[in-house]
Amino acid sequence: MNTITQSAPSSATNINASTASEQQAQFDSQYPLVLEAKNLTIDFRKKRSSFFGPKEYLRALNGLDFQLRAGRCVALVGESGCGKSTSAKIATKIHKASEGAIYYKGENIDTLTRSEQLAEYRREVQMVFQDPFSSLNPLHTIRYHLQRPLQIHHQLKPGKAMDEMLVELLTKVGLTPAKEVLEKFPHQLSGGQRQRVFLAKTLAIGAEVILADEPTSMLDVSIRIGVLNLMNEMKHEMGKAFLYITHDIATARYFSEDIIVLYCGHMVEWGSTEAVTQNPQHPYTQLLLAAVPDPSRSIHEKLPTQRSMETPMWSPEHKGCPYAARCPKAMAQCSQGLPEPKELEPGHFIRCHLFV
């Protein structure tokens, strides 16, 4: 089983076995593991071509592993349709994995069946959605949105104590004057403010793990960075664990410690964000990073060549590397079997036949 061994702050130059395990232990205690995905695979039933035809499946995710740790962030990047959001939906139990599972504090979430266990899981793992314009109820005030989780999950009664709590929450996420904001309706707030309300809601519930699905892509450019900075604060100061799903690799570099590049439901390259973004090795990662707009470059710089443009629809019967059809360096074995993960340097993994 391959896991992301995080690049622990390694100041020591020669790492022998004992210090490495000590470092791992120190790393574990500094950033305790909260949520772990092991070999997540999900198949969706496709519409049959005829009534008597065979059942056909689409493999949206194939063997995804990640570890979310308190106070750290893992970014999932890739093009649309590569399975980024699906993985968050499995973690929130919207979808059920066909293979593999998610472990929350060591416990398989599929075994949580009693309602109080489920309530606890849902209290601690919260999702932030892309569109802040439809994720808040337009008929209710901000006060209502923040009171509900406190009433339901923490059995608190509305009153002066709760009011103080709400004001404190809103101040924490930078919405001031808090007392006025409480009485406003969602339509009276801008996109960035709404996303802040949503983050305040996850704080009110007391979430430990926040699955942020493109939280800034619908926001105006000038306020995106403010929301990212707020999430950064929640990560560092309140020790929340983040899964940051995005297609904007530059913000992923800004916000996350670890990154996973997904292609067609497969992890192609993963590890510490700096290592992957500054020294990409997989042909797909190289293509993706070369395409990111960067003011210091020019539009004329050539992209790495590709053999085709089409992203395949992966099915359980498919074999080999999903990128083989596009990869300029594809070899015979690329279409035969999925390459095994390989550690290029401490904390930087790749799945490519070129590196086996």
Partner: protein, 347 residues
């Protein structure tokens, strides 16, 4: 280089139940022949409204209340319906954000090309139209046998390329691209823009490029105009606008895009929220969010003024350019009153 389009003091109002809302206020710029001009800004700052006004595609409740638009010396605002029909697509064409919505889902691509050629009386037979359409598809690297497919059979990037091919069908002199690649993945986005640039070099048209992604714009455009709530606040050569911004808003935008390369540093962004155009405060519109706003900023509204040869800025006290030391010549002429001299002193 000669000017292709000249926009002077353009004002566009939206008529609402609460009175007029000025979405574009006193905007002046020009586009040279063969140039790519970018317009950047947040949503609601009026950049798309300008694009629609240039082709007179705006509809009530929007109306152009002041200003002039000249295309090769002809007054676009004075054109009647027949002239407009000639003007659109032949002289200026537009690529919209969502390609799916500009293609008719129940007609083949071939029919939609024929529709354009037929409406403008360019072809005498359907076969001729098919030949021309195939040639256009070749230009944007789409296999010609796809001509008889329906829009849903294409991927998002291909659809956008079909729309670009259609926009170029009548060899326009100006191509307006309103967020053409926002819905696409980065790899596809770059391929399309490289293609567009190549076509521009080949055919020599000008482009008005609208997006909110400044990094992309800096790569593609020659000059960039930055808009804030209906006003053009800075106009500068693309490479200078992020490295040496004059307007605090441009500086703030530059501080809002994390970079992929180079040192990772904490970014501040811009505090506050965009202005509500229904109640515009007196003075500079950016003053409530500006880090160096003074009392003067809240009283008097700065006009766009020439800061040096290529740069224009609308700020009472613009930021300094680090490398430049000597005093620039006093502004020669701009559309604003010459009585305002406050702008230059900071340089």
């Amino acid at each position: 280089m000669s000017k292709l389009v000249e926009v002077k003091n353009l004002c566009v109002d939206y008529i609402t139940f609460n009175g007029r809302v000025r979405a574009v206020s006193d905007v002046s710029f020009h586009i040279n022949q063969g140039e790519i001009l970018g317009l950047a800004g947040e949503s609601g700052c009026g950049k798309s409204t300008i694009a629609y006004s240039l082709m007179r595609l705006h509809r009530p409740p929007a109306l152009i209340s002041e200003g002039s638009i000249e295309f090769e010396g002809r007054d676009v605002l004075a054109m009647d319906d027949d002239q407009l029909r000639e003007f659109r697509w032949k002289e200026t064409s537009m690529v919209f954000q969502s390609a799916m919505n500009c293609l008719n889902p129940v007609k083949t691509i071939e029919y939609q090309f024929w529709d354009i050629f037929d409406a403008h009386g360019l072809v005498s037979s359907r076969d001729e139209s098919i030949e021309k359409a195939k040639e256009l598809l070749r230009i944007v690297d789409i296999p010609t046998e796809r001509l008889f497919d329906y829009p849903h059979q294409f991927s998002g990037g291909m659809r956008q390329r079909v729309v670009i091919a259609m926009a170029l069908a009548l060899k326009p002199k100006l191509l307006i691209m309103d967020e053409p690649t926002t819905a696409l993945d980065v790899v596809v986005q770059r391929e399309i823009l490289q293609k567009v640039y190549q076509l521009k070099e080949q055919f020599g048209f000008s482009i008005l490029f609208i997006t909110h992604d400044l990094s992309l714009m800096v790569e593609l455009c020659d000059r960039i105009g930055i808009m804030y709530s209906g006003k053009l606040v800075e106009l500068a050569p693309a490479k200078q606008i992020l490295s040496q911004p004059l307007h605090p808003y441009a500086h703030g935008l530059g501080d809002s895009f994390p970079t992929l390369h180079g040192e990772l540093q904490e970014m501040k962004g811009i505090p506050g929220t965009p202005l509500d155009l229904q109640n515009v405060p007196p003075g500079c519109r950016f003053a409530p969010r500006c880090f160096k706003a003074t009392a003067a900023c809240r009283e008097q509204e700065p006009q766009l003024q020439q800061a040096n040869e290529q740069r224009w800025v609308a700020c009472v006290d613009p930021l300094k350019i680090a490398s430049q030391t000597q005093q620039p010549e006093p502004l020669t002429q701009s559309h604003s009153e010459p009585s305002e001299t406050t702008c230059v002193e900071a340089l």
